[in-house]
Assembly symmetry: C3
């Protein structure tokens, strides 16, 4: 029985890119299940896609995870397939797969797909989702062995992704925006544990500063703990600290973008 393929990209739903990859998978591995994780991720932006893949992983069936955010397509970047326990990750060597690979226990085997016999010939220079990644994902889902997918490569030689680290001090944390969702909620690069390390407890009032704006917020449990239109910080469903406005849009209200520096402080009593 073939394993499930989950599929994430920045292809969007307006064009046929996602559908054509589904078609190629069905042609090679008829009946295999494909779960679309998300395809509307910010274009060519590797870090938020890597964060989403890592966050989603525990909620996806083991099997093949296909991820394509690939601004360097057709250039020198390698196409990859990685084994991490019972998960196989397929995508470009630009850091996209690495946080998910770590979450899955680390890379046991890495394969360079540049000359994979499983590619769709002729391989285009601009659509490796269709010509390289989807066919390899389909074969792997059928149970074909990873070492036939291409050339072995040293996992230590892969392109790394720098995720910024927060700075925790007494009463304050300096963090960054890692991800912004459709609702304007901002996931930061820090956890609820790091709030506790800073001595900031759930239920307390905090100050939130970006380079250009500042606000007072509740460190709450959920949106409904704040009044409508009120800013709150909360531990989101992946364990990260996040900023939101109840029934509003924290992104707009605080002028947040990906990577915006955010300082969270215990409010003076």
């Amino acid at each position: 029985m073939p394993s499930t393929i989950s599929f994430l990209s920045d292809y969007g739903h307006d064009d046929e890119f996602v559908g054509v990859c589904h078609g190629v998978i069905e042609l090679i591995a008829p009946g295999v299940r494909v779960i679309d994780i998300a395809h509307g991720l910010p274009r060519h932006s590797i870090r938020p896609a890597a964060v989403v893949l890592r966050n989603a992983l525990p909620y996806l069936p083991a099997g093949v995870h296909l991820a394509v955010v690939d601004p360097g397509v057709g250039g020198e970047r390698r196409p990859l397939a990685l084994r991490c326990g019972d998960r196989l990750l397929v995508g470009p060597d630009n850091g996209l797969l690495l946080p998910a690979a770590e979450r899955a226990g680390g890379i046991e085997q890495a394969v360079d797909l540049s000359a994979s016999p499983w590619r769709l010939e002729p391989v285009s220079a601009t659509f490796h989702g269709r010509d390289v990644f989807a066919p390899v994902a389909a074969r792997l889902a059928l149970g074909e062995p990873l070492d036939r997918a291409g050339e072995k490569v040293d996992p230590g030689a892969l392109v790394r992704l720098e995720l910024p680290q927060p700075r925790v001090s007494q009463g304050a944390v300096d963090a960054r925006v890692l991800y912004l969702d459709r609702f304007g909620n901002a996931q930061l690069n820090m956890s609820g544990e790091q709030m506790a390390e800073a001595g900031i407890e759930p239920g307390s009032t905090i100050e939130v500063e970006t380079g250009t704006r500042a606000g007072v917020a509740r460190y709450a449990r959920t949106f409904a703990d704040a009044a409508e239109g009120e800013l709150l910080a909360y531990v989101d469903s992946y364990g990260s600290l996040a900023l939101a406005v109840n029934r509003g849009d924290a992104r707009a209200q605080l002028g947040l973008e990906l990577d915006t520096a955010v300082r969270i402080m215990r409010a003076e009593q």
Copy 2:
């Protein structure tokens, strides 16, 4: 054999929310079919989502209907599962499920999922789609009995949804906009029968007034019965009266929003 799950939300397709719910369903009920009804519904807006769910219901296989538009997530609102004949509805207790439940013949059994043994632990405060609703939908699709999903609750105690009623008089109807689609077509809270009650016949010319604009329209059968750019009223594919502009956008042309009051009158001859 597991039943089909249909799934509606305001999660959008940009983020991983929908995909993660699919993943959770596949983990619990491998191979179960999930039909996405729509996920781009207006954010946090219960009424249009409730109307869409009710309208779509007769065209969806019986089984489980999962619906998540949930501005009160993590707060006091109850998570629910309802039995209506051969349909099981799963979603928040904020009125979202009620019009569909009525369409399906009324609620025979209601269960509060607040302490459901089927929840994904730890239950987050902000993503009950993943942690409560999807797991319950998956178990129900597998045929597990509804009364094991949580605590029995009185169907009469559920949060109701006020859908506005039209006012029909001789030669005129006062209605409201219930739904606006991607094409800018506006579904009103009235039917073709109510046009007949008002003595307005298909083929006739009508006047359409909102608070700020007015126009003359054909009461037509389909878009193609009006000239390009011309306003028309028609009985839409769900039996409701709707306003459209042939190859144009009635929403923009008449300045319509959800709940805008619209007066439809027989035109003077």
Copy 3:
């Protein structure tokens, strides 16, 4: 075993149109596979949808191809089903299906679905995707014979689609924009072979002129061959010449729209 249905439309993902068609297919042909090609195509715009369907076809499993971009719904245009070898195309008679039919080897049999016994009664005047096309696609996927779907019609009598032809001269090609994707890449109505006919070789520098703007570009192999922000022409993954800006947006930079005239010239040395 039922064949696969692939499905393309301009219904978008905000409303329930796509989901309801999936529901109807599942009701008629439980378990049949539906691959969504794309649903965010430009509203009511037949040509780009026809181009996408034609381009995607070789990457989709044989079976039924359902396509609905249907500004004339409910009017005089016929609903159609076509046989082209092992592919069955279902959609409106407005030219949408023709380029794909040609790509699939030409039309062997054409059927007018206006009075199809497989329609969902009562047939609405505005949602033939649900009431005519999806039910017919589902029956055909189950293997029911095409000649029972409706009345035979002469393939020569179908509405044709004029796709503009490029004009190739020595050192220059006059082309048109056929398709614009989410990334702002513009597919032209010409191939890499036609560049060669004009004596313009890959690797050379070219001039690109529209009515209002002009620019110098590399005739490159892939995005990464151009500097960030630089205009390039390349043979895209379907063999067509296309314009892009590396990590940028050619549509915005050159002010391109569907059908914009574009002149490509060998640059003076």
